[in-house]
């Protein structure tokens, strides 16, 4: 059985402007876009810099270290494919570099999660093409 057949949850579509991000997560690296013209870092990946509109963007590695900015515990799901995981943590993580992203916090009982909890990125290899960034306590 392939990864793809086993994984029932929604998957990202790989677009020209996001392919570099997903190529990096497959190598277990977390990257954000950095603008060569103005230095702005941004997440999620875009076709241009949201600050100065330059399209001269490069992939910049980030530490993968951050803190839980906010979170909730999902007990009822919208998308049935997540049902086996409840309760699970859906969170905003603020990276040390200042970028915020949505991810799950794993490797900890949901009731133990707190705002400000230091976390680091880990990667869930869900299909041959896609490894999702997740976060676990440092």
């Amino acid at each position: 059985m392939s990864f793809q057949a086993a994984y029932q949850k929604p998957l990202p579509q790989i677009l020209p402007e996001t392919a570099g991000f997903w190529e990096a997560t497959r190598r277990h690296e977390l990257v954000v876009q950095q603008c060569a013209a103005c230095g702005q870092r941004q997440y999620f990946p875009r076709l241009l810099c949201h600050r100065c509109l330059s399209d001269d963007l490069a992939w910049a590695p980030v530490s993968g270290q951050g803190v839980v900015y906010s979170f909730t515990i999902i007990r009822q799901v919208l998308h049935a494919s997540f049902a086996p995981d409840v309760p699970y943590v859906y969170a905003i993580v603020e990276l040390a570099e200042g970028v915020r992203l949505i991810a799950n916090v794993v490797g900890i009982a949901p009731e133990q999660v707190r705002v400000g909890l230091p976390v680091k990125v880990v990667f869930a290899e869900v299909t041959p093409e896609v490894s999702l960034p997740q976060f676990e306590p440092v």
């Binding site: 990202p12 900015y69 909730t72 919208l78 859906y90 905003i92």
Partner: protein, 394 residues
């Protein structure tokens, strides 16, 4: 050119709200046509006088809804709009209509919205229909739609300001207290703070009673030029000021590097509205705040300027927000007390403001009300549209 005093609400109508399980045989077109008929009758305006239409369709209908409704009602408007960005869309539609009236594109605009609620879980928007960046960088992590978005905001708020649960629960207590005395409300059983805290945890830290119940219903109102409003049946309710502001995309609170989760764009939309009206928060006799979740009321009271940032929950807990209180809020019961008919809910704050300013709120009338605020909130607080209304032009 300012919109101050250039147009007025002269009538409104609502269908009888119903829970999803009691909605058999009702349709979005039927709901909206009924609300439209009631609003025109209330205003004393003949159908043929309507030359503008602002219509908000059900979530699963595209932006051609206003054209389809015009066909169904055989209207021939010279101004059409289908504002389509969540709960701020109703007030935004009023701003668009007011601007069109003052620009001479039309004179009398019918505004209507509503839908039919289906039994079962809410439509999973944010899953199938989202834009690419929500689909690819949010949905894959299993959010619970609006619930998880507002839960993230409430959690962050409680963290930043050390707010407990009492103020949030008091928002529900106030809503239910008003709803119990309002004719067209579905959640009419009064509750205590303890009842709210004992209601089931749905999406931490959001409990069941803090979350709106979707329902069936439609609402409509009629906006016309101030000149035309001089000679109508009801006391005109003038649009004195308005503003809209956004700081993020529709559903994901994570994005937008500059955006705070706990200071909303109401700060800007309300500032614009007050500046246009030449009034301040101290001049308000009441506020009608879009309350799909308790957190919206608390943040709105802060960002409108009724209390300091971070003090909203405590402010709610120690202030009488009832129709006879020191600061009446959501005097019809709000959506937390009435239910949320999608599309109609966008117009409920401005309709209750009109009801109060026309002096037609009966047992829930705010004494001597002259000026009030109606706020619309869309996309997990990302999009805000604030109106200041008055029964006189100061």
């Amino acid at each position: 050119m300012s919109l101050r005093g250039g147009s007025a609400i002269i009538g409104y109508g609502e269908t009888v709200f119903a829970k999803a399980k009691h909605s058999a045989g009702r349709s979005p077109l039927g709901e909206q046509c009924t609300a439209a008929r009631l609003a025109l009758a209330d205003a004393g305006i003949a159908k043929d006088e309507v030359d503008g239409l602002v219509a908000i369709g059900p979530l699963d209908h595209g932006p051609s809804w206003s054209m389809d409704l015009a066909e169904y009602l055989q209207l021939r408007p010279s101004f059409l709009d289908t504002p389509y960005f969540g709960g701020a869309a109703g007030n935004a539609g009023i701003l668009h209509a007011a601007a069109a009236i003052q620009a001479g594109l039309c004179r009398t605009v019918l505004l209507v919205g509503g839908s039919v609620s289906q039994p079962g879980p809410p439509a999973p928007h944010g899953v199938e229909d989202s834009v690419s960046f929500e689909r690819d960088f949010d949905t894959i992590f299993g959010p619970m739609g609006d619930n998880s978005a507002y839960a993230l905001i409430k959690r962050r708020y409680q963290h930043e300001f050390g707010a407990g649960e009492e103020g949030f629960a008091q928002v529900v207590v106030n809503a239910r207290r008003h709803a119990a005395r309002f004719a067209n409300a579905l959640l009419t059983t009064p509750v205590t703070v303890e009842d709210v805290l004992n209601s089931r945890m749905i999406c931490d830290p959001l409990r069941m009673f803090e979350i709106v119940m979707p329902c069936t219903g439609a609402a409509a109102l009629v906006l016309t030029s101030a000149e035309r409003a001089r000679d109508v049946r009801q006391r005109p309710v003038y649009l004195l000021g308005g503003g809209q502001a956004i700081d993020r995309g529709m559903w994901t609170p994570a994005y937008g590097r500059e955006a705070s989760l706990t200071t909303s764009p109401i700060k800007r939309s309300a500032a614009s509205a007050f500046a246009m009206a030449g009034l301040t928060a101290a001049d308000l006799d009441f506020l009608q705040l879009y309350d799909c979740y308790t957190i919206t009321v608390i943040v709105a009271l802060e960002d409108v300027g009724c209390c300091a940032k971070g003090e909203g929950a405590e402010f709610v807990a120690r202030t009488d927000l009832s129709s006879t209180g020191t600061l009446p809020v959501n005097t019809d019961g709000g959506q937390l007390g009435r239910g949320q008919p999608y599309g109609a809910c966008h117009f409920l704050p401005v309709i209750e403001a009109s009801r109060q300013l026309m002096g037609r709120a009966g047992a829930l009338q705010v004494a001597d009300a002259r000026f009030g605020l109606a706020n619309g909130n869309g996309g997990a607080m990302a999009n805000q549209c604030t109106l200041i209304l008055g029964n006189e032009i100061p």
